[in-house]
């Protein structure tokens, strides 16, 4: 898959998952690697970029097992970005679907 395209998709997935609740890196990585075929390690650069863009913010929280975890929380800016990415995604998906499944007229 094209790298830039994949980045956008991963960003959309991360932001959407954070819409439900705050999550930590490992959690995001394991869900994403299970659902869409990416390696766990690819998630952290995306998280860092989202943080640099102020789309997410982080805080540390104690966990029952192991060291404290870094949690990611969606910001207002992040939610706007999510909506815009989702819009792009829906357009793209519908367009692709209509071509792949329609077959006859492309008007």
């Amino acid at each position: 898959m094209d790298i830039q395209f994949k980045k956008g998709v991963i960003e959309l997935c991360v932001l959407s998952m954070l819409l439900e609740e705050d999550r930590y890196g490992y959690e995001l990585a394991s869900v994403l690697s299970k659902k869409i075929n990416i390696s766990d390690g690819g998630i952290y650069p995306v998280l860092r970029r989202l943080k640099d863009e102020n789309s997410v913010e982080t805080y540390l929280s104690e966990s029952s097992e192991g060291p404290p975890r870094k949690y990611y929380r969606l910001t207002k800016r992040g939610d706007e970005q999510r909506q815009s990415l989702e819009g792009d995604w829906v357009l793209l998906r519908n367009g692709v679907d209509s071509i792949v499944e329609g077959g006859e007229s492309y008007e």
Binding site: Y26, D40, G42, V46, K70
Partner: protein
């Protein structure tokens, strides 16, 4: 590759001002995975190639660690000049000294043994020959140990020097 090796490999390719924070994230990833019962190997496998991850953080493979063709050619010519003008004579000199020192060790061993055996043949008090011989052998052992170290380090130096040439050719 274990966790430490994986993280240090990754760290080397990260921008220095951010590397600690990024490595912390990965430490946390390992800790969480292991708390879930995964092994270091399984976690490393699912994380993927550190080079790919580093690239996402802006690491540029082509810029890093590789020398340009121009500087490699200049470096190689410089090295060859050094080799011809002084490198070869230095190596030959050092090799002769090394050979001479080993010969001395051999000489000490032979004369020590000869002195001890001489107890039966030479008209000198036996204790002089015995203790003299033992002292000489002890000296030979000491010097031999020293020479073994010297040999190891000279060999390493030689390998390093030879690697310089390879580095110029491959550019790594």
């Amino acid at each position: 590759m274990n966790k430490e090796q994986y993280l240090s490999k990754l760290k080397k390719m990260l921008p220095t001002d951010e590397s600690n924070e990024i490595i912390n994230d990965f430490e946390e990833h390992f800790a969480t995975g292991m708390a879930e019962g995964k092994t270091e190997q399984e976690i490393i496998e699912s994380l993927g190639d550190p080079v790919d991850i580093a690239k996402e953080y802006g690491y540029d493979e082509s810029k890093d660690g590789k020398m340009s063709v121009g500087s490699r050619i200049v470096g190689l010519i410089g090295l060859l000049f050094f080799d011809i003008l002084i490198g070869v004579s230095i190596i030959l000199t050092l090799f002769s000294i090394w050979l001479a020192l080993w010969t001395v060790v051999l000489g000490l061993v032979v004369s020590g043994i000869a002195a001890i055996l001489g107890m039966f043949f030479i008209a000198l008090p036996w204790y002089i020959l015995l203790f003299g011989g033992i002292s000489v052998l002890a000296l030979a052992v000491l010097m031999g140990i020293g020479m073994i170290y010297l040999t190891i380090y000279s060999f390493k130096g030689l390998v390093w020097f030879a690697n310089l040439h390879i580095k110029m050719v491959t550019g790594e």
